[in-house]
């Protein structure tokens, strides 16, 4: 139970881990955008997705992120994927028929469209896994705060949001520990969290949730008092314990992201048939 931490940050020290969190968040956003773009005809789309897959795979290898985590997240989604496959097979009726199951015609198109979804899902999970396993939660909030800075000018209390967020992140392990403790205490009173009928399961969950809620409410009240007692002013100007310097490397990284993104977006906008062109050249 205590192994629940946000995104499972893994304690390694590779160049990806050391990268400025702002760059990493921007990079992730970029990947999330380009994963959902369309690059023209089907084969070209698949080629691009393959290309992204390779890039992400290389990044994962460099940062020594285990692929097992991606696989675990995917495993949790198997039912959804199956459902999507069935829905696609039943509803997509355009293009050539691939094969028949009894009377039911299955089209190439249905499988291809399902393939898109699955590949996008895999790429998405790879991207987020990469980010969360190489960036500490605190660095993530810092990056988010930085990204949201422009909102300050329209009077959005960005640093209050960031503070709330980092406090919430800070308390995830504490809550997990607390939940573990309460579960063991209720187990001593005859609750079985693993087995039992639905009604018993329900009772088990209630006996966990209510004390957990009560103690986290109490805890947050105490925390607020403690902050106030030490003169915390939510509107005051904050300084950082760990400073992230914006140096030339960061600029360089940002440039690479920008150029890459522009290139990919241009490809998507013009739907440039480069496979056709290469094939033409080869002839």
């Amino acid at each position: 139970m205590t192994s629940i931490t946000l995104g499972k940050f893994s304690l390694k020290n590779t160049c990806i881990h050391r990268l400025d969190p702002r760059l990493k968040v921007l990079g992730m956003l970029m990947f999330l955008v380009i994963i959902f773009l369309s690059y023209g005809v089907t084969r070209q789309n698949y080629l691009m997705y393959g290309f992204f897959f390779v890039i992400l795979l290389i990044l994962m290898i460099i940062s020594r992120t285990s692929f097992l985590q991606v696989f675990k997240s995917l495993k949790a989604l198997w039912f959804m994927m199956l459902l999507l496959l069935v829905i696609n097979a039943l509803t997509v009726k355009s293009g050539e028929v691939w094969f028949y199951i009894y009377q039911l015609d299955i089209h190439y198109e249905a499988i291809l469209r399902w393939g898109y979804i699955v590949i996008r899902l895999i790429l998405m999970i790879m991207t987020t896994t990469l980010l969360t396993s190489t960036t500490k939660p605190m660095e993530l909030t810092f990056a988010l705060e930085w990204l949201l800075t422009p909102l300050k000018y329209i009077k959005v209390p960005v640093h209050i949001i960031a503070m709330t967020l980092s406090l919430a992140l800070r308390f995830i392990p504490t809550l997990a520990e607390e939940a573990d403790r309460i579960m063991r205490a209720q187990a001593s009173r005859g609750i079985d969290f693993r087995e039992g009928k639905f009604k018993e399961k329900f009772k088990a969950v209630i006996s966990l949730i209510i004390p957990l809620f009560v103690s986290s409410l109490l805890r947050s009240g105490e925390l607020a008092d403690a902050l106030e007692a030490r003169g915390y002013d939510p509107l005051g100007k904050r300084t950082k314990y760990r400073k992230h310097k914006w140096n030339y490397k960061t600029t360089l990284g940002l440039l690479i992201i920008a150029i890459f993104l522009t290139g990919i977006i241009l490809l998507a906008v013009y739907q440039f048939d480069f496979i056709g062109m290469i094939m033409g050249l080869m002839k």
């Binding site: 205590t2 192994s3 304690l11 607390e178 403790r181 309460i182 063991r184 205490a185 209720q186 187990a187 001593s188 009173r189 005859g190 609750i191 079985d192 209630i206 006996s207 209510i210 004390p211 009560v214 103690s215």
Partner: protein, 304 residues
């Protein structure tokens, strides 16, 4: 024999990973029937970990724990709950016991048990345990009321929400929740920490009463006054190891041993020791608290 730990090791977290930390190492302990046993040691020495083995919440990473006829062990990452009374059964499944039976046999009151209250009313919360163990509603209610009476919670509290009670009252209700299970062994993890002196005294008197009624008490405590007064046997733990098991009298007299630990004998006992050194003929066996010390001094004076 009530219980037996044989070469018990316990490791938190997955073994072999960076998160693994050993909390118990090579614990060997035999617990007699009908004991009032105290478990002392610095925080983090593994007391809470040890007591959670007694009702099968934790299973030893290696070694075996036996409580009454229930045997707990882990082999090749598989957990075994073996009922020694059914040893004759050939099929391994038949030898298994339900862990619930052990939970009822050894009632465990956690450190800060007030955080486990959750029902709408005090009475319902105390009934929760008995109901979970399959008791009828009527009987559970009667038992719950009796348990509440024992811990000094009056009838006017029955229909109140447990969340609006004071810290001490919550603690009593939570303890009543375990007493209502009618366990053969009551295991208490720092039950009086944070209570006022009067509440502490009342609680300890209650535990002693339960002990007198034929049950066993295993108590984790930092309060040596209580250990001296109530316990018949003391286990001293340090850094996951069991340093010493003997009577309070022996431990508090063993200066060499005491100097190697952070245990401070009770003031009453130290006073008695000094008096004895100064020539007063005291029977240390009888000294439990201030009144008994006074009585001993009176006797010694008379004999002079």
């Amino acid at each position: 024999m009530l219980g037996k730990f044989t070469s018990v090791n316990y490791v938190y977290g997955k073994e072999g990973t960076a998160l693994a930390s050993s909390a118990l190492s090579d614990i060997n302990l035999t617990i007699d029937d009908h004991v009032f046993l105290a478990l002392v040691g610095e925080t983090g020495s593994g007391k809470s970990t040890l007591v959670q083995h007694l009702n099968g919440l934790l299973l030893p990473t290696s070694g075996t724990v036996q409580v009454s006829h229930y045997l707990l062990k882990t082999e090749k990452k598989k957990k075994y709950y073996i009922d020694l009374d059914k040893e004759q059964g050939k099929h391994p499944k038949r030898k298994q016991f339900k862990v619930k039976d052990l939970r009822k046999f050894a009632g465990l009151v956690f450190q800060f048990p007030e955080y486990q209250l959750f029902e709408e009313t005090v009475l319902k919360d105390v009934m929760f345990g008995p109901l979970n163990f399959g008791m009828e509603e009527k009987k559970a209610e009667a038992i719950a009321k009796a348990a509440l009476k024992l811990v000094g919670i009056g009838e006017s509290y029955y229909s109140r929400s447990p969340f609006e009670l004071s810290g001490g009252e919550k603690r009593r209700v939570a303890i009543a929740g375990i007493i209502a299970l009618e366990p053969k062994v009551l295991v208490l993890d720092e039950p009086t920490a944070g209570l006022d002196p009067k509440g502490e005294k009342e609680m300890m008197e209650l535990f002693d009463k339960i002990y007198q009624s034929g049950k066993s008490i295993i108590l984790v405590s930092h309060n040596m006054d209580l250990v001296l007064k109530y316990a018949h046997e003391v286990c001293v733990m340090n850094k996951g190891k069991l340093l010493k098991v003997s009577s309070p009298l022996e431990i508090f007299q063993d200066e060499e041993f005491l100097s190697s630990t952070a245990i401070e004998p009770p003031l009453v006992f130290k006073t008695a020791l000094e008096l004895k050194k100064a020539g007063l003929d005291l029977n240390l066996d009888n000294i439990k608290d201030i009144p008994s010390l006074a009585e001993e001094i009176r006797k010694a004076k008379k004999n002079d």
